[in-house]
């Protein structure tokens, strides 16, 4: 598909998701997936600010530990922290061995095969609430219109969080951020249970949770909560057919 068509299809898909009582982690995961497809990057993810003032990971195009680790490190240092603090984009930052800017982040990102990193702030009425992080396995600059597309997707992610009306009466931005972060924790707790109970890799645990939620028209967070509360057993989740649903 041509890039323009892909972008339009992505935006329609996300807008369509925002109409109903959507799952915020699922929408942000879709958005991360679409970043990888619409922009020339290899992994993408969203970090949001916690009430402590630290960034926390909430969604990624890849649930593999090697990618998730790169978000985990960025609770303390890395492009997302800098982007969040300054409220401005970091684009085309080439990663290299001698780079002293992020002494923990850079070596891990290089070891995982990434060569450049980009980060777009998620801003709302003058406040930065998180960052969209993009990774590339090759160097070379992102085209100017890629940066525009990426910032547009970061803005859509911001809207996805702001629009989210949960049953918890969350009417303020702080409440919505807190709900989104807590959703991710519920999903992590359920992932651990699924991994242990079904002896599967952790990225498969996420994909099973997501696929089952979609098959049964249920929110992923709601489903994860039922697993955590032992109302549903991990073994009752639908088997993945072939590749994971996206």
């Amino acid at each position: 598909m041509a890039r323009e068509s892909l972008l339009i299809a992505s935006l329609v898909e996300i807008a369509d998701n925002l109409v109903d009582d959507y799952d915020v982690i699922d929408v942000l995961t879709v958005l991360s997936d679409r970043c990888v497809q619409a922009i020339d990057v290899d992994a993408a993810g969203v970090m949001l600010v916690s009430p402590e003032g630290a960034l926390q990971f909430v969604a990624s195009s890849s649930e593999s530990m090697r990618v998730l680790e790169l978000f985990q490190i960025q609770v303390d240092e890395g492009p997302c922290v800098d982007c969040y603090r300054d409220g401005s984009a970091i684009v085309n930052h080439a990663l290299s061995e001698g780079d002293g800017r992020w002494p923990r982040f850079t070596p891990r990102a290089l070891a995982q095969g990434f060569r450049s990193v980009h980060c777009l702030p998620m801003r709302l009425r003058g406040r930065t609430i998180g960052a969209l992080n993009l990774f590339r396995t090759h160097q070379g600059p992102l085209a100017e219109d890629d940066v525009v597309v990426a910032q547009g997707l970061a803005d859509v992610a911001t809207i996805a969080i702001l629009q989210h009306q949960s049953s918890l009466n969350a009417t303020t931005l702080n409440a919505q951020l807190s709900n989104a972060l807590n959703s991710r924790i519920i999903i992590e707790q359920a992932k651990g249970m699924i991994r242990q109970a079904t002896d599967c890799p952790v990225d498969e645990a996420f994909n099973r949770l997501r696929a089952h939620a979609r098959n049964h028209n249920e929110g992923m967070t709601e489903l994860a909560a039922r697993i955590v509360e032992r109302v549903m057993m991990p073994s009752e989740l639908d088997e993945l057919r072939g590749r994971a649903a996206t």
Partner: protein
């Protein structure tokens, strides 16, 4: 690395408890941290019973007792998962028809409630009141979410037998609301056939006992170097990697 707002909480803890921390002081700290007139923490049991953990002053205590007797009010609503924002009880007499008139008599005019939760684990709620009416500022609201998360972790540290340093050590260390910890808790919950809450407590107790950071123990659980043996109800730590240098 704790954030500035967490450091402010530590400073209040220091002053209130001279280095130690006890759950009973959390209400005093909450009220002072948010600059409000009083605060209560209520725990909700699996049996649907509510019990008071602490109250910052006599009005807060009277409000909590009232709520528990009447079965209605801001803290109980928040225990059930709602975010409560009632800036003027005088303007909303019908919201809690039994609670509201007595709360006004006691002097409270604005009440706020937040669930205390960590992922799928629900502990109860914290409520705050003001003698005058009026909304919370965005900063106060963000601080209320931070306090709610500190309280959840304080309860876990307390149940794990961490005296004094347990909570400050945990909040001040590298291991915060860390998704690796929650994934590991999911695995331990299945290994030991226990709730996620008990798994989080057991992990804390074990991390104190062997003197590893909670996040380090979580990493070992994910890589299957540490596990919980269901027969003997004890931890198994393979290899002595963590003993190096001792």
């Amino acid at each position: 690395m704790p954030t500035d707002r967490l450091i402010d909480i530590f400073t209040l803890m220091e002053r209130r408890t001279r280095g130690g921390t006890s759950l009973a002081t959390l209400c005093l700290i909450s009220a002072e941290f948010l600059g409000l007139d009083g605060s209560s923490i209520v725990l909700s049991g699996d049996d649907g019973e509510f019990t008071s953990l602490c109250a910052s002053n006599s009005i807060a205590r009277a409000l909590t007792n009232l709520e528990i007797v009447l079965g209605q009010g801001p803290t109980i609503e928040a225990c059930r998962g709602a975010i409560v924002n009632e800036p003027s009880l005088l303007d909303a007499p019908e919201r809690w028809s039994l609670f509201t008139p007595r709360a006004i008599e006691l002097g409270a005019q604005a009440v706020f409630g937040y669930p205390v939760r960590l992922g799928g684990v629900r502990f109860g709620a914290i409520s705050l009141f003001r003698l005058g009416s009026g909304q919370l500022t965005g900063t106060q609201e963000g601080d209320a979410y931070l306090m709610a998360s500190v309280i959840g972790r304080a309860i876990l540290a307390d149940e794990a037998g961490g005296n004094g340093g347990g909570l400050v050590g945990e909040l001040g260390g590298e291991s915060r609301l860390d998704f690796v910890v929650h994934q590991a808790a999911g695995m331990i919950a299945v290994q030991g056939s226990m709730s996620i809450r008990d798994a989080l407590v057991s992990m804390r107790a074990h991390s104190f006992a062997v003197d590893w950071e909670l996040a380090a123990l979580a990493d070992r659980i994910l890589s299957r170097e540490s596990s919980f043996d269901p027969q003997s109800r004890t931890w198994r730590d393979e290899s002595d990697r963590a003993d190096d240098g001792n």
